[in-house]
Symmetry: C2
Subunit: 151 residues, 2 copies
Amino acid sequence: MEMTRSLKERGVRLTRQRQVLLNLIDQSGQHLDAETLYLRARETDPKLNRVTVYRTLKMLKESGLVDELDLLHKDGDQHYYETRMKREHAHVICLRCGKVEEYFGEPLARLRKEVEETFGFEILLVRTEIGGYCSHCQALRAEEMEQAKSA
Amino acid sequence: MEMTRSLKERGVRLTRQRQVLLNLIDQSGQHLDAETLYLRARETDPKLNRVTVYRTLKMLKESGLVDELDLLHKDGDQHYYETRMKREHAHVICLRCGKVEEYFGEPLARLRKEVEETFGFEILLVRTEIGGYCSHCQALRAEEMEQAKSA
DNA sequence: GTTAGTGCAAACCTTTTGCAGCTCT
DNA sequence: AGAGCTGCAAAAGGTTTGCACTAAC
């Protein structure tokens, strides 16, 4: 795994706990929060402590191996994490059903380039989060409105 | 004030405390967090409670009158707030000095339009936060690197 | 007068820290 | 062997809640 290699190169110890966590982060294509990651990790290693999850996530974030997201705090104030392998993308979050889609269009690259040029800024990370209603929930909301009217 | 009018129309009571808070939010062109707002509000109204600040911010956010930002958690996990009057913009945050610049370019509109078209998504809010080093801090970091080497 | 809003205290959730003991290299 | 890492308990930081009292309309 890419993360494993990168950590090994830098002399970071690959403890049993870290291997469990890295596997989960790498496999899950989803955006995990610390608590979910903790619960899943305990299925493999019931002794693993929540604190270790936080420490590992912090280390991976500072190493640039994972990105931290807020996803507009769709379910509270926790953070979400994803591996950094992928191309730059925006997260499109449905505020009704919570589904998260990823958008990889060229406006993102243009935005980045323009900000660098406009401010002479050295960009290290870009976080774009778009909230609203997905097409499915738009229809459901229309129904809900109808029902509210007749009630 | 625009916010005042909007609240009055909807029958929200304009208490003394809310007037103090609305004034501060409206005047400050900056991005305030709850604690800063609380401290400033107490200069005018020393009895005003921190909880009232949180409740007011929540109400304004849910009314769509202010936007909640994270600013990449540059100083911790608190939220920042700004009035929604302005055009859509991205926040460009220096991770060294904490300065926040605002970018209003057309790639933002293109991004919005493309996401709407691609996913049939109804966008309610867009949050773009860009982190890195401002031109000033790039130079300072270069110096720091030099010093680290010779030390 | 009624109902929404406030203050206070206490709880809550997420994350961090101090420290003693364990384990990877 | 020894620095780096873990677990536990406890604290921290930011925010929310329950309830009795107050004030806006």
